[in-house]
């Protein structure tokens, strides 16, 4: 596995074009991995996700989404606390307890209609709140867009996700696969939009990822782009 990844990274090196974006120093490698992920998605993960959507009734799919969201909720609570959002941590604890019990292992989201909103917090956001910059953009094999700042959050996320504590591997693996299929199915609309409207899907994904992460770090109120600066840039002659 490690060799396969190394080979991919090298492959990415070989196919890299000219470097342009200073915030994407690994663009060559990233593009290689992006291509690999894209191939994997068109050949395998995408068709599986579409088949899943086709054969599974919507209420069941919503239950599956709810279940995985709830199982990951201890991570949300932990990061609430790390970010100093104590009231939100209390609310999210209530959310987790209600949905895990009355909501039957999280399959039904009873807490949100009760006014305990669904929050999105993870360790990458916590690092962002603490002031860490995004660091280099990363494309991870299979997992896709990420960054130096967000990547450590994958481990934190796994440690605080109930699913990963399932000891029986004959249950764990199907669950993890279902989680991946659910995630991919939810991304389908965004991926279709990208397929249709992006000229350079790699750049499109990178920018969308960065902006969405900033949006999450600022809890939905990120600073808006500076239109005055944008106007200025369009008013001066570009350097080529």
């Amino acid at each position: 596995m490690v060799f396969a990844v190394a080979a991919l990274l090298l492959g990415g090196c070989a196919t890299s074009g000219q470097q342009a974006d200073p915030t994407d120093p690994l663009e060559g490698l990233n593009r290689g991995l992006y291509g690999f992920n894209d191939g994997l998605d068109s050949a395998l993960i995408g068709p599986i996700a579409r088949a899943y959507v086709a054969v599974t009734p919507e209420p069941v799919r919503i239950g599956v989404t709810n279940f995985f969201a709830n199982a990951a909720y201890p991570g949300v609570i932990l990061n609430d606390l790390l970010q100093g959002k104590f009231e939100q941590a209390v609310e999210d604890t209530g959310h987790f307890l209600i949905n895990s019990t009355l909501g039957i292992f999280g399959l039904i989201d009873l807490a949100t209609p009760l006014g305990m909103g669904r929050h999105k917090e993870d360790f990458g956001q916590t690092l962002g709140v603490w002031g860490a910059g995004e660091g280099a953009y990363l494309v991870l094999p299979v997992l896709g867009p990420n960054s130096m700042r967000d990547a450590p959050g994958i481990a934190v996320g796994a440690y605080t996700d109930v699913v990963w504590y399932v000891a029986e591997s004959s249950v764990l693996w199907p669950l993890l696969i279902l989680k991946a299929v659910d995630t991919r199915a939810r991304l389908d609309a965004a991926i279709k939009l990208r397929e249709r409207s992006a000229i350079d899907p790699y750049v499109f994904t990178r920018e969308a990822y960065r902006q969405h992460r900033t949006h999450l770090i600022y809890d939905g109120n990120p600073p808006l782009e500076d239109f005055d600066e944008l106007e200025e840039q369009s008013a001066k002659l570009g350097k080529l």
């Binding site: 249709r196 409207s197 499109f204 902006q211 239109f227 944008l230 350097k239």
Partner: protein, 204 residues
């Protein structure tokens, strides 16, 4: 004498007041509400309208509600200055068509979606931010924030930010690389292809 003058003045002010309000044009919410209303309409009638019908219905709303020349200029960034007047007009035209086609392609069914305007905020230089939300049938929210500015023709949308993803910066990043590497011809070629794909695949 004086009293009569006052009454006349008061009457004049009273009569002119609504006119001056109307003269100021519709508020910044108007283009957003028009867009949302029309999107709901085309979603309701998505099947009978088809892609072409939805596009036809949306085109005037997008053309009136968005400041397309301004958006195109910002998306082109530093490359704008180098374009001739014809090239700029061509880019504005194709960019407007793309915006309409994207809406017509994306809003192709109705499953109980609802739009709600949440708040309005003043930005620098008189720009306005309108926060809104699109809730789908399962109660999942998409945050849609609109940045508007005032033109001679009234308020116009200059950016749409969906769940924090700014359409303007996304396109700017995507398109300026093509402009840098292949110039104006390459960008127009790519955009025409995207437009043709939209029309082609969705019409089937």
């Amino acid at each position: 004498m004086n009293l009569r003058l006052y009454i006349r003045l008061a009457l004049a002010i009273f009569l002119l007041l609504p006119m001056s309000v109307a003269g100021a044009g519709a508020g910044p919410r108007a283009p957003v509400q028009a867009l949302h209303g029309t999107l709901l309409e085309v979603m309701h009638d998505a099947k009978s309208l088809g892609f072409a019908g939805r596009r036809e219905r949306l085109a005037p709303v997008v053309h009136q509600g968005f400041d397309m020349p301004y958006i195109t200029r910002l998306v082109a960034g530093a490359h704008w200055k180098k374009m001739s007047a014809e090239q700029r007009a061509r880019l504005i035209d194709i960019f407007s068509q793309l915006t309409v086609a994207t809406y017509a392609g994306r809003f192709d069914r109705y499953a109980g979606e609802e739009f709600a305007i949440l708040a309005e905020r003043e930005l620098k230089k008189g720009r306005r931010l309108i926060r809104s939300r699109l809730t789908d049938s399962v109660g999942k929210d998409i945050r849609l924030d609109y940045v508007l500015h005032r033109t001679d023709g009234g308020w116009r949308i200059v950016n749409v930010v969906a769940n924090g993803i700014s359409d303007l910066s996304l396109k700017r990043a995507d398109y300026t690389i093509v402009l840098r590497d292949g110039g104006f011809g390459a960008l127009v070629g790519k955009l025409e292809k995207i437009l043709a794909d939209y029309t082609g695949t969705i019409n089937q």
